[in-house]
């Protein structure tokens, strides 16, 4: 079973839920797809046994063969190539690696080379197998790195995916083709507003979902009313507690100090299975 933990709004507690869930399950793999700001490893402190670079492919123009016809730049949907009178400029950070430019070039002047966008790290801690991506600072292409993290998925394991915040392509890349999505929200107007957008993404993708309300007791009741209207189950409430906030601030997953919560995460898993 593949469970994604997502939220829309940042800082609602995705990583807290994903890590504590992973620590409560057996035979589990945690994939941290928040490649811009991965945090699961801070809570898990894994021993890293493998680091490997992730590349995308970008065009290389042979100045010898190129006759500056401009077909490549006309084709490129991402404005990653610019052809002037006697030169071709490639903007690798805009390239999506579709390979179209090489296909349309009548002179076969285009080949491709690897460009590193980040790394994948693999490790293990407390019985959890962790894989996470780390986007190079200054790099904009997070989706190929998210896909590379997801390619490490082991289907014979219970997989938990920690998704990035937001509701755009990075979320879609993380949650697409997973069995269930846990939406972590807080009972505030911002939490609710971003939750609604995320619910729309999941409906469009056809991924079943349930809500975990973090920092319950703060804010108002509108998130609860919304979930009832939309028939979205509230799987768990994590109360606003200075102790939990303080544990998080020190990088301690709260099930480690409050083991009674493991049972609650297992109940969530059982509710999802039903």
């Amino acid at each position: 079973m593949i469970i994604t933990v997502a939220s829309g709004k940042g800082g609602t507690g995705k990583t807290t839920v994903a890590v504590n869930m992973a620590l409560s399950l057996e035979n589990v793999q945690l994939l941290d797809c928040d490649v811009e700001e991965p945090n699961s490893h801070i809570l898990l402190q894994p021993e890293i046994h493998e680091t490997k670079p992730v590349y995308t492919r970008v065009p290389v123009i042979s100045e010898e063969l190129c006759d500056y016809c401009g077909k490549c730049s006309a084709f490129c949907a991402y404005n990653a190539l610019f052809v002037a009178q006697k030169t071709v400029v490639v903007f690798p950070e805009l390239c999506h690696s579709c390979g179209g430019c090489a296909l349309v070039c009548p002179k076969n002047a285009i080949t491709e080379k690897d460009r590193q966008i980040g790394v994948i790290k693999k490790g293990e801690a407390k019985g959890v197998e962790l894989v996470y991506g780390e986007l190079d600072v200054g790099e904009s292409m997070s989706v190929p790195l998210i896909r590379a993290v997801k390619n490490q998925m082991k289907k014979n394991k219970n997989v938990v995916i920690d998704a990035p915040p937001g509701t755009a392509c990075s979320l879609v890349a993380s949650v697409h083709k997973t069995d269930y999505c846990i939406l972590v929200t807080e009972p505030t107007p911002f939490g609710l507003h971003d939750l609604k957008i995320t619910v729309q993404v999941l409906k469009d993708l056809g991924v079943p979902m349930g809500v975990v309300i973090n920092r319950a007791g703060l804010g108002d009741r509108k998130v609860y009313e919304y979930c009832e209207e939309e028939n979205i189950p509230v799987l768990l409430e994590i109360p606003f507690s200075r102790k939990i906030a303080e544990l998080y601030s020190r990088g301690v997953p709260f099930v480690a100090e409050m083991p009674e919560w493991k049972e609650k995460f297992l109940e969530v898993r059982d509710a999802i299975k039903r």
Binding site: G11, G138, P164, D204
Partner: protein, 287 residues
């Protein structure tokens, strides 16, 4: 007159970017506010903009197949690098709109269709003009929409004779964040005193440094873990970054959010409001 531009960012989500930005809107005059978090925007819930102009944002394309024309040669599937074609069916979620399938199809069974990816808005609020947007759920191209929001803000700033643009940035350090900070005069990082917050702040500072943008840091909810707050101050000190403010934790911030008002307006005498006013005073000296 040159318009100055500041982006509020954080790396980690939920550290208080929008609460701080909304308060700065109250504390400043002749300022254009923008919300550069185009896929999960929240600033409008505090500033309550009245929309004056709405623009369609069409940046992406998606491949559409005419199954009646398809001769099932499989070339599209073979050439698609995004795994978006399986069993001769296009998955619009995975399609990145490159057009390779259209090019390789021998019978012209595939076409690219433009899709509306979102909307940009120019609005007025009681705190000044606002430029914002809404990306359609699950869309790509958030970076391009952020660029449009900032272009609109610059136009409005010139027209309305404003001196400053304050951008509320998205979380992360990827595409939309890069679009939010490129070329600004200052990045103001809002960090929370957690290990994750510190880790993400370091990456956000790295990003600003990469683009040669001056940075300032303020610590939000600093008293939730004073040891980590000291670490932040130390880290910034040894990296030549100034910490311009420390905002205490107070549930009144959540109350003000529920009331739909910036905290400095909702409770001007609160400790939080005073801390924000002080941090803004310090920030202004450094622009």
């Amino acid at each position: 007159m040159m318009v100055k531009e500041i982006t509020v960012l954080s790396g980690k989500g939920g550290t208080g970017k929008t609460s701080v930005t909304a308060s700065l809107a109250v504390l400043t005059q002749r300022t254009v506010l923008t919300d550069c978090d185009v896929d999960a925007p929240d600033l409008h819930m505090l500033l309550k903009p009245e929309v004056l102009e709405k623009q369609e944002f069409k940046a992406s394309r998606v491949a559409v197949m005419d199954k009646d024309k398809c001769v099932q040669c499989g070339k599209c599937e073979e050439h698609c690098r995004f795994g978006a074609i399986e069993n001769l069916t296009i998955d619009p979620v995975l399609c990145e709109g490159c057009g390779v399938c259209v090019y390789v199809c021998p019978v012209a069974a595939i076409e690219m269709e433009k899709r509306v990816s979102g909307y940009a808005f120019i609005s007025k609020t009681k705190y000044g003009p606002m430029s914002h947007a809404l990306l359609n759920p699950g869309e790509e191209n958030s970076g391009k929409l952020v660029s449009l929001v900032r272009e609109n803000a610059k136009k409005v700033a010139e027209k309305e004779n404003c001196e400053l643009i304050i951008n509320d940035g998205p979380p992360g350090i990827g595409c939309p964040v890069i679009a939010s900070v490129s070329g600004v005069d200052l990045g103001l990082i809002v960090v929370e005193p957690t290990l994750s917050g510190i880790h993400d702040m370091e990456r956000a500072l790295g990003l600003l440094d990469h683009f040669k943008i001056p940075s300032l840091v303020c610590v939000n909810k600093y008293d939730l873990n004073e040891e980590n707050t000291s670490r932040i101050v130390e880290f910034c000190g040894s990296n030549g970054v100034e910490v311009v403010g420390k905002i205490p934790f107070d549930q009144i911030v959540t109350e003000s959010m529920v009331a739909g008002k910036p905290i400095v307006e909702y409770s001007p005498e609160s400790r939080v409001s005073k801390a924000i006013a002080e941090l803004w005073k310090q920030t202004l000296k450094r622009i």
